[in-house]
Symmetry: C2
Subunit: 188 residues, 2 copies
Amino acid sequence: MTREAAETQVKILDLAESLIRKGGYNGFSFREIAAGVGVKSSSVHYYFPTKADLGAKVARRYTDRFMDALGEPQDASKIAMDVVSQMHGSFADALADDGQMCLCGVLAAESAGLPTEVAGEAKEFFNRTANWLNVSLQNSDWGKGRTSSEIEKQSLAVLAQLEGGLLIARVQQQPDLFDLLTPRLPMD
Amino acid sequence: MTREAAETQVKILDLAESLIRKGGYNGFSFREIAAGVGVKSSSVHYYFPTKADLGAKVARRYTDRFMDALGEPQDASKIAMDVVSQMHGSFADALADDGQMCLCGVLAAESAGLPTEVAGEAKEFFNRTANWLNVSLQNSDWGKGRTSSEIEKQSLAVLAQLEGGLLIARVQQQPDLFDLLTPRLPMD
DNA sequence: GTCTATAATTTGATAGAC
DNA sequence: GTCTATCAAATTATAGAC
């Protein structure tokens, strides 16, 4: 694969990601991608045979990058609030650059109407982020002495509030709203 | 307006609501509506001149119905947990009948790519539900002695977790997940 | 109020030249 | 790898008969 080819492919993925985050999977077209990248739509099909394939690969790359930024959950004990803050920061980064919300949050919202490959990747994003929270909270001070089902439940609650916070910040066109909404863990 | 006409109009609104909740605003067409209702697409245009008009009216009706089910916030003091539980129950109802999520949650996710009239109605749903929570929590035991900015913040946090919970339950295809995620209010 | 018919555009996708 | 050319289907929307 030549350098130019790789750049075209990456440009397509970048623009597709941006457009999906703006208007959802059904809100962009191959021709829109092509025009933005500076090629013809047939060239987009050269890299991604179908729209479902492009959508799935955009989601996969997004999830990989997101998990990469989080890093491996540490074995060593951590402060639970630092774990939550780190996750909050990763979601805030998604919002910060262009005021848009989490790609897989958008896909999740319309997932009942998506090709299975795309919906599957969106689902996988939540599996992986929930698992990261699970392991991290288990190793935290807060996690000691709590049941794994209680920890799993709180991991989902944290994720829910973060995704929901992005949703609200976006529809209200007030990105700052998200910063207000740092999830808390119950202390009882 | 004759009885049959009213029924057709309501059928259109009902089906449009269901389809948007399934696949978003860009995931349904006038012909799909027409086929499901048993008329031609030109008849759908008779009731709703444009797609944006239909989308906006679906959202408005949804919000009105949602607020109607909540009822007026009581003046009398209430238990805060009952307030949160009531809101949780209203969102659960949306999920219960067909396993789909909140209409305005879906619209919010793709709001950056929607016609302004539709995005505006989605925004209004959050304004009205947040305001209901605000007033109700202010009148609750928990609200006594707390600042209005703290109460506003927690109202948004509750909304965020509920919408995010629907998002997760839907993408995981596990409606039961939502029941687990009853928001809590901080007691410190 | 619902229909037929159709305009005008956009969509995802493919064949084949270079 | 990118292009031209094109297809078949779907889209929103309108005009006008009944």
